[in-house]
């Protein structure tokens, strides 16, 4: 890669940072006091990834997902995952057109730019798995036909981390397809007070009035820009080191997959882009390691509590990061 001189301002990245800022401000109109959560959501979008929001009920998971979808324009579908939901309810179905006597594919709610998979762990693994191909390859194969999903395509799933009864934990392969898993957490006391003082319908109203901040084409160009962000060979080596370390870890049954490495790289690139850089810093990687990696790891001593699993996995990731030297 040819050396660039820094005296030339990178027009592209600057614009990218501005676009992202516009997007985030738009979302922040409805989610107050949660810039980090918004940022993660945006990063997942720019990394052409999918987002899993995992938290206790009532902190705004759905609101965030909806706000993100609305802000980027494009089409938005919400699927409420229930235990009786079937794959065809998501993907669509071929029906016989009486007039022509031919089967015609009726697209399911998955065919949208942003799909909100609300409470994804409430449906059966069978239905959950229907998302696999769509999330990985942005396509749907049905009855011998392959249907492309129009970019940008993003699945935002929410799940309640504290609920256990009547839920089906996501299979590992499914988990691995989420680029980021994030939490929202309770708002700060100050923000909570502000929330209470406002009229009850305001948030809902604001969400309803939320206008797209960006064009779809802008989102795509942002994704393209993120894909072009440079990652140095040393940092690639660092990613590999971390992955190998997790695979070697005695606490884990399953370490980081190459897909996980790529996802980590992608969000780091998006993070660099958002910060106005055209190269990845080790800080990008380290800051995103927990949301990007922890949910992919399978603990050796699988604990029954989801929350404990999560904490344990994050601890392992932290431990790995604290042991490996950062290049440079």
């Amino acid at each position: 890669m040819g050396a660039m001189t820094r005296l030339v301002p990178a027009e592209r990245e600057r614009t990218a940072a501005e676009l992202v800022q516009r997007l985030e401000r738009n979302i922040a109109q409805v989610i107050r006091g949660k810039p980090a959560a918004i940022r993660h959501a945006v990063l997942a979008l720019l990394a052409r990834g999918h987002l899993l929001i995992e938290d206790v009920p009532g902190v705004g998971k759905t609101t965030l997902a909806r706000a993100l979808a609305l802000s980027m324009g494009g089409t938005f579908h919400r699927i409420q995952f229930t235990s009786d939901l079937l794959p065809s309810d998501i993907l669509g179905v071929s029906v016989l057109e009486p007039a022509s006597g031919q089967f015609v594919f009726r697209k399911g709610p998955l065919f949208a730019n942003v799909v909100l998979a609300d409470e994804i762990n409430r449906t059966t693994p069978r239905t959950q798995s229907a998302l696999l191909e769509a999330m990985n390859d942005s396509q749907v194969s049905l009855d011998g036909y392959t249907y492309r999903l129009e970019p940008p395509f993003m699945v935002v799933a929410t799940q309640n981390s504290e609920e256990h009864y009547g839920t089906y934990p996501l299979p590992e392969s499914q988990m691995d397809r989420f680029t980021l898993r994030m939490r929202i957490d309770y708002p700060s006391a100050e923000d909570e007070k502000g929330l209470i003082l406002e009229a009850p319908a305001v948030t809902e109203d604001a969400l309803a009035r939320l206008q797209p901040a960006l064009l779809l084409s802008e989102i795509i160009s942002l994704q393209d820009a993120a894909a072009r962000v440079r990652i140095s060979p040393e940092l690639a080596g660092y990613i590999v080191d971390v992955a190998r370390e997790t695979r070697r870890s005695p606490f884990l049954a399953l370490g980081l997959s190459p897909r996980g490495e790529l996802a980590w790289r992608n969000v780091a690139r998006a993070s660099a882009l958002v910060a106005g850089r055209d190269y990845v810093l080790p800080d990008d990687l380290k800051q995103l390691a927990l949301p990007a990696l922890a949910h992919r790891l399978v603990l050796a001593n699988q604990l029954d509590s989801t929350g404990r699993v999560r904490e344990e996995a994050e601890r392992v990731v932290k431990d790995v990061l604290n042991r490996l030297p950062v290049p440079g």
């Binding site: 050396a3 660039m4 820094r6 005296l7 140095s232 850089r277 380290k286 950062v326 440079g328």
Partner: protein, 753 residues
């Protein structure tokens, strides 16, 4: 040291070296040099923003006026000195400008002018340098000039082109350079080492060029510009008491002589004792009056010279004969056979007189070497004294000897001498009283009691030789040697004071007294000034005569023995040995004068021949049938050595240039960007202060921790981290001026303010 201070210091040292070299060459007057030195020392403390500086600022119109005035004066002086152009007023003007500029160091332009002026000063010193001290000064100058000019250039770059952008979208801004100039890390030891090596190479190259460029002797074409340098121990006339205290410290070398007969002596003791009794005869006087010896310039006393010209090599031999001697002058062969041969070299003399061992019988002037622009000749003077003349040789007519040079230092000649001996005293009738009358003239200033004394001492003696003996014995018995003279002003003639009251004096008094007493006793005498003894330099097998060996004695005419040397002064022991150091210095001086000052085309040829003999070059190796000659081993070795030297030179030149010009913007061994090095140095420094970056920490995490811990100059670290991260992870080249600034800033990181 701070960069600014280093630059100032080297600049001052540069000017100081030029000044010191000038002082050592004695081109400028001591007053000018001293005034400038004082001004320079004062100017060190004159910074533009100090009180002194402001005071000086107010004086600028006055100083400018003085500059113009001095320039006009210098021009006037030079014009008036025409046609014997003396450029020294210009030199004084340059010295004035240098002092002025040193006091007015405002910006780069002033520094540049200081360099130019110091170069002019150096040029003036080179013009006149006759001592090997110059080479030391010159080397220092080259060394300092290399440093100074690089630092100057660097400083200008820093001051004039220092733009930096902290962020991509910010416009370039001029950076305040004070911090960089005050940084201690811009240049360091390695810079001086490597550039010093370069300077040494430059110096060696200059010497090579000097040796190999064909000599055209421009210096002598511009003859007359060189000013008289020498200071010899006596002046044209001798005034008793004037040189009351002989300067025993005056170490100025007057003459150098190579005397094969002395060099051939086996033992050092024999040589030392022989050298101690060598009388180098110079000026001769015949008339004493009122404490003064002068030359009567009586034609009767004029030295007879017979010229034997060798047409084959243009060499000239002069055979001396005194008009008083009976018989025809001896032929050349007769004159020089058995005589002591001396190869003389004049180093510093104020008076153009031929010096030779007592008594000179012939002087041989070497033919001017090819390419030489001067030739040496002698002229007959009086009483056996010979004048030395240096001509400019016209390139068109080698016999045109009309232009006499005022400069005769470096003149060489060969003298032949025969020691005078007291022989059997011949009958008085053989004397030629007419010719001897000037040597019998008694001073009118002496009172009758001197004559009474003379008569008392000499009347009873049967012969002239016995009279001489009696007078010398009496003088030595009743008077003692001293250089601490006392004078009774009531007695008009100092000689009389010496004879009857002080009873103590130095050689001039003894010689004068002997001459006068003998004259009054009827013995013709003349007064001789010269040098006694010398120092043996074993390194180059020659005798060095210094100014402090000046001596006076008397020559008495003893009939058939002719003129005989009479030294009435009591023996004063003087060290005849040079210390080892002085021998080396003296040898260096001799080498310098022979191979640098008088380096001529003929010596160049000589050198080339020597080299060719040494290495086997230039030897006619052509075989008649055109077969190739096989290279000798020395040739191969020489070529190989030359190639190796060339490679070393090139490598050395390349290395310092990169380091020096980029001022330590070092790339790592793997070609890492310079900023890596700067960052690593900062980390090392912080680690040394107990604040090390942990391996798992990213640069920015480390920076955050540093900020939290309150590390000094965390902002500088932040900028450095930013640039480092760009270079490290973004492969973005950081401009070298930015690196320079970072480097300067990095010096303060972690340092407690």
């Amino acid at each position: 040291m701070k960069f600014r201070l280093i630059h100032k210091l080297t600049s001052y040292l540069l000017a100081g070296t030029a000044l010191a070299t000038l002082a050592s060459s004695q081109t400028a007057s001591w007053l000018s040099v001293a005034v400038l030195a004082a001004a320079a020392i004062l100017s060190w403390f004159v910074e533009p923003d100090t009180r002194l500086g402001r005071l000086l600022d107010r004086a600028v119109p006055l100083l400018n006026l003085a500059t113009v005035g001095l320039f006009a004066l210098a021009v006037l002086q030079v014009v008036r000195s025409f046609p014997e152009v003396d450029l020294s007023p210009f030199l004084d003007f340059v010295l004035f400008l240098l002092g002025y500029k040193l006091c007015q160091r405002r910006g780069n332009r002033d520094y540049l002018q200081i360099y130019i002026l110091s170069f002019l000063v150096m040029l003036a010193a080179a013009w006149q340098a006759t001592s090997a001290v110059f080479i030391v000064g010159f080397f220092l100058y080259v060394l300092l000039a290399t440093w100074t000019l690089i630092l100057f250039h660097l400083r200008r770059e820093i001051e004039e082109n220092y733009l930096v952008r902290h962020t991509g979208d910010a416009s370039g801004a001029r950076v305040t350079v004070t911090r960089v100039l005050n940084s201690r890390r811009v240049v360091g030891g390695p810079f001086f080492l490597y550039t010093g090596l370069v300077a040494t190479l430059v110096f060696g190259g200059a010497a090579l060029v000097f040796a190999s460029i064909p000599r055209v002797g421009l210096g002598f074409i511009l003859g007359g510009v060189r000013r008289q340098t020498g200071v010899a121990g006596f002046s044209d006339e001798v005034k008793l008491g004037m040189h009351g205290v002989l300067s025993l410290d005056n170490q100025t070398v007057i003459l150098r002589a190579q005397v094969p007969r002395i060099a051939a002596l086996r033992s050092d003791d024999a040589r030392d004792s022989t050298i101690a009794s060598l009388y180098w005869r110079g000026t001769v006087y015949d008339t004493y009056e009122n404490g003064e010896w002068i030359r009567s310039r009586d034609e009767k006393t004029r030295t007879h010279l017979s010229l034997y010209h060798s047409p084959s090599n243009d060499g000239r031999t002069y055979v001396l004969s005194s008009p008083q001697a009976p018989g025809p002058p001896p032929g050349r062969t007769a004159a020089i056979s058995g005589a002591v041969e001396q190869d003389m070299e004049v180093v510093a003399l104020t008076h153009a007189v031929v010096f030779a061992l007592d008594q000179p019988v012939a002087v041989e002037m070497p033919p001017p070497p090819p390419g030489a622009f001067t030739a040496v000749d002698v002229e007959a003077r009086w009483s056996g004294e010979l004048g030395l003349r240096v001509f400019r040789v016209s390139p068109f007519d080698r016999n045109d000897r009309r232009t006499v040079m005022p400069e005769f230092a470096g003149a060489r000649y060969r003298a032949y001498s025969r020691a005078s001996r007291l022989g059997t005293d011949g009958p008085e009738g053989q004397l030629l009283p007419e010719a001897l009358s000037p040597y019998l003239r008694a001073a009118r200033s002496l009172s009758p009691r001197v004559r009474e004394l003379a008569v008392r001492l000499t009347a009873v003696q049967p012969s002239a030789a016995a009279k001489v003996d009696a007078v010398v014995k009496w003088l030595r018995a009743t008077h003692r040697y001293t250089t601490d003279l006392k004078r009774d002003a009531s007695i008009p003639d100092p000689l009389e004071d010496f004879l009857f009251h002080q009873s103590a004096g130095h050689c001039e008094y003894f010689a004068s007294a002997a001459a006068m007493l003998l004259r009054m006793g009827g013995v013709p005498t003349r007064y001789v000034n010269g040098f006694l003894g010398g120092e043996w330099n074993g390194l180059r097998q020659s005798i060095t005569v210094r100014d402090n060996r000046a001596h006076s004695w008397v020559e008495a005419y003893l009939g058939s023995s002719g003129w005989v040397r009479v030294d009435a002064t009591p023996a004063v022991s003087r060290a005849a040995h040079m210390t080892r150091l002085r021998q080396v210095l003296d040898a260096v001086e001799m080498f310098w004068s022979r191979w640098v000052i008088e380096y001529s085309a003929s010596q160049q040829l000589l050198l080339a021949r020597q080299l060719s003999r040494e290495f086997g070059w230039l030897q006619p190796h052509f075989s008649p049938r055109g077969t190739h000659h096989r290279a000798s081993r020395t040739q191969v070795l020489a070529v190989a050595a030359g190639a190796v030297a060339l490679v070393v030179v090139l490598a050395l030149r390349k290395l310092p240039r990169r380091r020096a010009v980029r001022s330590g913007l070092r790339r790592g061994w793997r070609g890492e960007p310079p900023v890596f090095h700067v960052y690593q140095r900062a980390l090392d420094r912080l680690a040394a202060r107990g604040f090390a970056r942990r391996p798992e920490e990213t640069p920015h995490e480390y920076l955050a921790r540093a900020r939290k811990q309150g590390v000094a100059s965390a902002d500088a670290l932040a900028r450095l981290t930013e640039c480092y991260a760009e270079a490290r992870y973004g492969d973005i080249e950081v401009p070298s001026e930015v690196v320079l600034q970072l480097r300067a800033e990095a010096a303060s990181i972690g340092r407690d303010s």
